[in-house]
C-alpha cells in the first residue's frame, strides 16, 4: 500500500512540475470551441512551424468572460486574448497599444474604428467583424407573402410580423436564456428609436453626456419592446430558449426573423444544412435609414505587461495574413475586418453582400449601441431589462426595467468617469 502511495505522489509531483517548463511559448485565450477551435488550432500550428514559438491555446467556451474577468482581477492575464467586442471598453486598461504594428494600415476603416479609443490608441487587431442585422428564413417570408426588400421602417417590419403570424409561425425568435441575445435585441431597438439614421427621438448626445431622460425616452424604447410582445411577435419560450434553439428555429423555418449578427446564419446551417436564409439591416423608426451594427468577432489584443510582446506581435502578424483571416471567416461566418481579404462562396458572407446591395441606398454602419452610448458594464443589464419587459409587458414591468437601466447607467457612468 505504501509503495502505491509513494508512486502516486511522485506521479502527481512529476506532472505538476513538468507543466511549468516550456520553450518560447505564448498563452492565447480564445472564445472559440469545437470546429471553429480546430481552425484556430490549425493556424497556431502553422505559426509554430514557421517561427518555432509554441502557442498554448486556452478555450473556456461559454465561460470565457467569467474566466477573463477573474484573470484580470488577479493580474494574471494571458499574452494574447480575444476582446470579443470589448477591446476599448473593458480591456483597454490591460491591453498594449498596437498603433505601430505592420498590419494596422490593412485594417478596414470601420473595423479599425471599433477598436480605437478616443485618444487614437488601437487596442485590438480586428481580424473579423460581426455584423448585426435581421436574419430571415426566405421560405417562411415567401409563404407569408413578405418582401424583405420592402421593409425599411419599424412599421414595415411589424406589418411583416402580422403576415408571418397569420401563417402560424413565430415572427421574431429570441433565445433569451443567453443574455447576449436579449442585449443584442435591445441594442437594435434602442438604436432604431434613439440614435440611428431615421430614429425618432435623437438622444445620442444626451446619452453621452449623461443627461438622458430615462423616464421619458427609456420608457418609449421599452414600450416598443412591450408592444412587440403584446402583439405576439416574440416567441413564447423566450425565457427558456438558448442560442441553439434560436438558430434551429430560424433554420428549420419555425420563425421568420432573428435579430442577431450574421454568424447565426452559419450556426443555423450547422443544425439545418439546407436552411434557406437571408440577411438585412435593422429597420429604423422612420425607415429613412437602416443599420448594420458592426462589432468585433475574432479580435485579438496583446497583454500590456507581457514579457513576450515580440512573440505576441509575431502571432498577430501571422494570424492577420489574408489566407488565415479567410479561413476564420469561412469557419465562423463573420466578415473580414481587413481590406485585402475577400471571401467567395461562403453562405453567410454572401447573404450579407446581397443585403448590402439590396439596401445600398439606405444602409449605414454603426457601432454596437451600448459600446457607443452606454458606460462600461451595461450589456448584462440590458439583457436583464429586456427579460423583465418580456416577462411582464405591462406598465409596471416597463417601469421596473427602465428603473433598472437608469440606476445601473448612472452608477456605471459615475464609475467610468473616474
Amino acid at each position: 500500500m505504501k509503495k502505491v502511495l509513494a508512486l502516486v505522489l511522485t506521479l502527481v509531483l512529476a506532472f505538476g512540475c513538468t507543466s511549468a517548463f516550456a520553450a518560447a511559448s505564448i498563452e492565447v485565450e480564445t472564445t472559440y470551441t469545437d470546429a471553429n477551435l480546430d481552425v484556430v488550432t490549425e493556424i497556431a500550428k502553422a505559426f509554430t512551424a514557421e517561427t518555432g514559438i509554441e502557442v498554448e491555446l486556452i478555450a473556456p467556451g461559454s465561460e470565457y468572460e467569467t474566466v477573463m474577468k477573474t484573470r484580470m482581477s488577479s493580474g494574471d492575464l494571458p499574452d494574447v486574448w480575444e476582446t470579443h467586442g470589448w477591446a476599448v471598453k473593458r480591456y483597454s486598461e490591460y491591453l498594449a497599444s498596437l498603433n505601430d504594428q505592420p498590419w494596422v494600415s490593412r485594417m478596414d476603416p470601420s473595423a479599425a474604428s471599433i477598436v480605437t479609443a478616443e485618444d487614437g490608441t488601437i487596442y485590438g487587431c480586428n481580424l473579423t467583424q460581426s455584423m448585426g442585422g435581421c436574419i430571415y428564413n426566405i421560405d417562411v417570408l415567401t409563404e407569408a407573402g413578405v418582401d424583405p426588400a420592402a421593409i425599411h421602417s419599424l412599421q414595415d417590419f411589424y406589418d411583416a410580423c402580422e403576415k408571418i403570424k397569420a401563417i402560424g409561425k413565430v415572427p421574431v425568435y429570441i433565445g433569451g436564456k443567453d443574455s447576449g441575445n436579449c442585449a443584442g435585441f435591445m441594442a437594435a431597438i434602442a438604436s432604431a428609436m434613439l440614435t440611428a439614421k431615421g430614429n425618432k427621438y435623437d438622444q445620442g448626445a444626451a446619452l453621452l453626456d449623461g443627461s438622458f431622460d430615462w423616464e421619458t425616452y427609456g420608457t418609449y424604447v421599452m414600450q416598443e419592446v412591450a408592444n412587440m410582445v403584446n402583439n405576439g411577435y416574440i416567441n413564447t419560450d423566450f425565457t427558456t430558449a438558448d442560442t441553439m434553439a434560436q438558430c434551429t428555429a430560424v433554420g428549420a423555418g419555425d420563425c421568420g426573423f432573428l435579430w442577431r449578427h450574421a454568424q447565426n446564419i452559419t450556426w443555423a446551417r450547422q443544425y439545418v444544412p439546407d436552411a434557406n436564409l437571408g440577411f438585412m439591416p435593422y429597420p429604423s423608426f422612420s425607415g429613412e435609414g437602416m443599420a448594420f451594427m458592426a462589432g468585433e468577432a475574432y479580435c485579438l489584443g496583446i497583454n500590456k505587461e507581457t514579457e513576450k510582446k515580440e512573440e505576441a506581435a509575431k502571432y498577430l502578424e501571422f494570424v492577420s495574413r489574408p489566407e488565415n483571416i479567410e479561413k476564420m471567416c469561412r469557419a465562423t461566418g463573420a466578415l473580414p475586418g481587413f481590406t485585402d481579404v475577400t471571401v467567395e462562396g461562403d453562405y453567410a458572407i454572401d447573404a450579407f453582400r446581397k443585403a448590402q446591395e439590396m439596401y445600398a441606398d439606405v444602409v449605414e454602419y454603426t457601432n454596437l449601441f451600448d459600446r457607443q452610448y452606454f458606460p462600461n458594464g451595461m450589456w448584462g443589464v440590458m439583457g436583464e431589462s429586456i427579460t423583465m419587459v418580456v416577462m411582464d409587458p405591462t406598465e409596471t414591468g416597463i417601469a421596473a426595467a427602465v428603473e433598472n437601466l437608469k440606476v445601473n447607467y448612472q452608477e456605471k457612468k459615475e464609475a467610468d468617469g473616474k
Binding site: D38, G61, T66, R71, T243, A252
Partner: protein, 285 residues
C-alpha cells in the same frame, strides 16, 4: 460485517406476503431512472443534423460523436488528468480527514465543539462566493493549471464532509480501546495509528466513493484553476462542447457516456463495501 448483511436479508417478514407490487414499483423506478440515460445514449449515436424526436432511435448508427469527443476533445488526456486529481483529492481528504476527526470524536472541550461548528459551517459555504480570493491566492502561489492547485482547493472544500463522516465513525469506536493502549504506554500518535486507523477501512470506502465521485465531476473550481487545455478534467472537456458559437450536444453526450464509465466500474466493484461503510460512518452516530 457479513453476518449483519445476512441477518438483514431475513428481517423482512412484514413485507414478504405480496411480491408483485414490488416488481411493478421497481420497474417504474428503473424506467424513471433510465430514461435520461437512454436519451443521452440516443443522442450520442445520432448525427448532429438528425432533428427527430430526442427519444426516437437514430436513423443510422453514427459514431462520429465518439470519434470527435475522443479526438478533438482529447478525452483520454482528460481522463488521465481527472484520475490524478481524484486520487490526490481522495488522499488528502482521507488522511487529513481522519486525523482531524480523531480529536473531534474524543475530546468534547469547548474548543473542539467550536471547531466542529466551523467545520459544519464550512461544509455549506457556496464555494463560488469566494472564487476571486481563491484565484488570486493560487496565482501568487503559482498554482494555476497545476495538479496540486486544483487538488488542494477541491480537498479544502471537501474536507469538512469527510471529517464529519470520520468523526461519526470514530465516535462509535469504544474509547476504552484508547485507554487500554494508553495504559500499555502507547503515545497518542501510536494509539491513533495502531488502534484507530486499522478500523477505518469501511468508512474510508464511503469517503472514497462519495468524495471520489465529487472530485471526478468537479466543475466550479476546475474552470478557474485549470486554465491550460492539456490540464482539463472531464467536465471541462465536455463543457467545451457547449458554447454560444457552436453547441455540439451529440459530442457532449458521447463524452458524458465515456466519462461515467470509469465511475460506474469503480462503484460496482466497491458497492458491497459501500453500504457497510456507510452503515458504520453515517449510522452509528
Amino acid at each position: 460485517m457479513t453476518q449483519q448483511v445476512k441477518i438483514s436479508q431475513k428481517n423482512n417478514t412484514f413485507l414478504r406476503k405480496n411480491q408483485w407490487w414490488k416488481y411493478a414499483l421497481s420497474l417504474l423506478i428503473i424506467v424513471i431512472y433510465l430514461l435520461p440515460i437512454y436519451a443521452v445514449i440516443m443522442m450520442a449515436f445520432k448525427s448532429p443534423q438528425d432533428l427527430s424526436s430526442r427519444l426516437s432511435m437514430p436513423k443510422e448508427l453514427y459514431l462520429g460523436s465518439f470519434e470527435k469527443a475522443l479526438d478533438s476533445g482529447n478525452l483520454l488526456n482528460a481522463l488521465k488528468n481527472t484520475a490524478i486529481i481524484t486520487i490526490g483529492v481522495i488522499l488528502i481528504e482521507v488522511i487529513a480527514g481522519c486525523m482531524a476527526a480523531y480529536p473531534l470524536a474524543r475530546n468534547h472541550a469547548k474548543f473542539n465543539k467550536f471547531v466542529m461548528n466551523v467545520v459544519l459551517s464550512m461544509m455549506m459555504v457556496p464555494a463560488l462566493s469566494i472564487v476571486v480570493g481563491m484565484y488570486s491566492l493560487l496565482v501568487s502561489l503559482h498554482g494555476i493549471s497545476t495538479y496540486w492547485g486544483i487538488i488542494l482547493v477541491t480537498a479544502a472544500f471537501g474536507l469538512p464532509l469527510s471529517i464529519f463522516l470520520y468523526r461519526n465513525f470514530i465516535t462509535a469506536i469504544p474509547e476504552s480501546l484508547d485507554e487500554a493502549a494508553a495504559i500499555d504506554g502507547a503515545s497518542t500518535l501510536q494509539t491513533f495509528f495502531h488502534v484507530i486507523l486499522p478500523q477505518l477501512a469501511p468508512v474510508t470506502v464511503s469517503v472514497i466513493i462519495m468524495k471520489g465521485i465529487g472530485a471526478w465531476n468537479e466543475f466550479a473550481f476546475s474552470l478557474y484553476v485549470l486554465q491550460k487545455s492539456k490540464m482539463y478534467n472531464i467536465t471541462l472537456t465536455i463543457k467545451q462542447f457547449f458554447s454560444e458559437t457552436s453547441t455540439d450536444l451529440n459530442a457532449a453526450a458521447a463524452g458524458a457516456l465515456i466519462a461515467i464509465l470509469p465511475t460506474i466500474i469503480v462503484y460496482l466493484v466497491l458497492q458491497k463495501y459501500f453500504v457497510q461503510g456507510t452503515l458504520d460512518s453515517a449510522v452509528k452516530g
